[in-house]
Amino acid sequence: MAGGKHILGGLLFVAAAAVGPFLPAWLISLLTIALASALVVLGLVLLWRAGLVSFGQALYYAIGAYAVALMMRWTGIHDAFLAVIIAAFAAALTAFFVGFLLARYREIFFAMLSLALSMILYGVLVKTEALGSTDGFNVSTPTFLGYAPHGFELTVALYWYALALGAIAAVIVGAYMRSVAGALAVPVRDNEIRVEYLGVSATRLIHLKLVIAGTLGGVGGAIAAMSISHVDPAMSYWTTSGGFVFITILAGAGSVAAAFIGSILFELVRTASVALMPGTWQLILGTVLLLTILFLPDGLGSLFTRRRKVAGESAQ
């Protein structure tokens, strides 16, 4: 079953890469941004499986984005590969330190504290004149190991790059979910104390998930920064986190693929609604979120997997 999924995923990856150059530029950019969001969402899915919703994932997203922007500005190195490594490292380090604190919290307190932390970063960014304050600043054009494309070529190159990173992340996260540590997520959500009786530290498990999710968030932010070629503090505002949480709920915690499908749908609907019915984007978003929670509590992914979950978790 898993093998079939891998083959299907591989085929989709090749198809997505192959059609890239034949798509209009706006659609490629949209897909690149969707891939960036999908990485962040993958991290949120990991947390969501353990029953945790982070309303502050924009913290890592913004740190990744600013890390790339600052590296290019300060060192003059524009390499996209190095940029992503630095962004991932910066976000992972943040998640590691913040994790000592966050991993002790559950439910709403976890959501609120992660929200507070991202809002602290927002406050710092807005007040830092050197980083452009509320306007942010522009990100230079990335190069790929010496290859320096421009215009449409750059758009396609970034898309391929995001696609490759997305594929790598999907494989790693998929493998993690099937590992013992990944599989323990659902038991942690259902009954943490029993998990501890089995000799596993739930706190340490969640700390690990936080670091993985943070790293993915940082990489997502790095891609977004290079694709938009601009960073600003709004990237760390709570509404950005809210958008990621939205996609997570829409996609559901069932599968890795759902994170990608959900992100692409999200970006498509956003673009369509902004173009066709300006001023109603949040209305559509809210309605879809509501309908998803009411009628598809396991997300879009559950339409495909048809796996029935034990419905006992809501009865305290």
Partner: protein, 298 residues
């Protein structure tokens, strides 16, 4: 000395504002265990309705004092309608689900209501400066204070005292305390918990809208005011302890004074001092200053 006094008065005014905004959120959380993101939308609706009502009222040249009542009435009315609609149509469908899921449901409602504001009032901003002008200014030593700010502080005190007395000394308040303490036992003793939920949610919504109306004269009533308020109110109730009246009061005072101190002494940290205080409190008291630790269920 003057600086200290300025920090104190600014802090108190800001704390009053925070308390008015956060008390409804705290009430709803205490009774229903719902972290209501839509509270920001209630605030925004309250502000918009109050500003519209004030505009219509003062344009007619009617007596000044009535304007305050009209604004408050407009806000309370819209809070009543929105709270009732939201609780009766959407929230009742998700009672009993995960707390986090309910947060997301209120987030969805918040998004919908935000755009409803654009559809109703359009993108331009409103202002309701008249009450500010009517209230005038007065002096404490060398400090100029606006009468309206004093009014805000009085309103906050009124709400706090009313809340305490209402919870302790009325039949409804005592039953509500029972529901807060143990929902199931209260139900077993014949308390109609469902109706209490509706009433509480509507009162919370009215308080949110009233907060918006109270702030409308001091701010430009524009798109996105709810977005800001919601995280502020979260911070206040998280510091004080969610669902506790004393907590909301103390949380508002701590956050208000810290922000005022930051504004006067270290303006660079003004924006995030609130969240820093919140994070700091949560580090040492994960459930806020005024809540009992919950026993873990095995």
């Amino acid at each position: 000395m003057l600086l200290g006094l300025a920090i104190l008065t600014d802090g108190l005014v800001y704390a009053a504002y925070l308390f008015i905004v956060a008390v409804g959120l705290s009430l709803i959380f205490g009774v229903m265990k719902i972290l209501n993101v839509a509270h920001g939308a209630f605030y925004a609706f309250g502000a918009y309705c109050a500003a519209t009502a004030a505009g219509m009222y003062f344009d007619r040249g009617l007596p000044d004092a009535g304007g305050f009542l009209v604004m408050a009435f407009a806000a309370i009315a819209v809070g009543l309608v929105l709270g009732l609609i939201l609780e009766r149509t959407i929230l009742r469908l998700v009672y009993g689900k995960d707390e986090v899921i309910i947060v997301l449901v209120t987030y969805a409602a918040f998004l919908i209501l935000e755009d409803a504001i654009i559809l109703i009032w359009g993108p331009s901003s409103l202002s309701a400066y008249q009450p500010l002008v009517i209230s005038g200014n007065f002096m404490i030593g060398q400090l100029v204070l606006s009468g309206y700010d004093l009014g805000l502080v009085l309103l906050a005190i009124l709400l706090a005292v009313g809340g305490f007395l209402g919870l302790r000394h009325t039949r409804y308040g005592r039953l509500l305390t029972a529901v807060i303490f143990d929902r199931e036992t209260a139900a077993a003793f014949g308390v109609n918990v469902t109706r209490f939920f509706t009433i509480t949610f509507v009162i919370g919504a009215m308080l949110g809208a009233l907060g918006g109306a109270a702030m409308a004269p001091k701010i430009s009533v524009t798109l996105g005011i709810g977005v800001e308020v919601i995280v502020l109110a979260f911070a206040v109730v998280a510091v004080g302890g969610m669902g506790s009246m004393e907590g909301a009061l103390v949380g508002a005072l701590i956050v208000g004074l810290c922000r005022a101190a930051a504004v006067h002494l270290l303006p660079q940290v003004e924006l995030f001092v609130i969240y820093a205080v919140m994070a700091l409190v949560l580090v040492f008291r994960p459930h806020g200053l005024f809540t009992r630790a919950q026993p873990r269920k095995i």
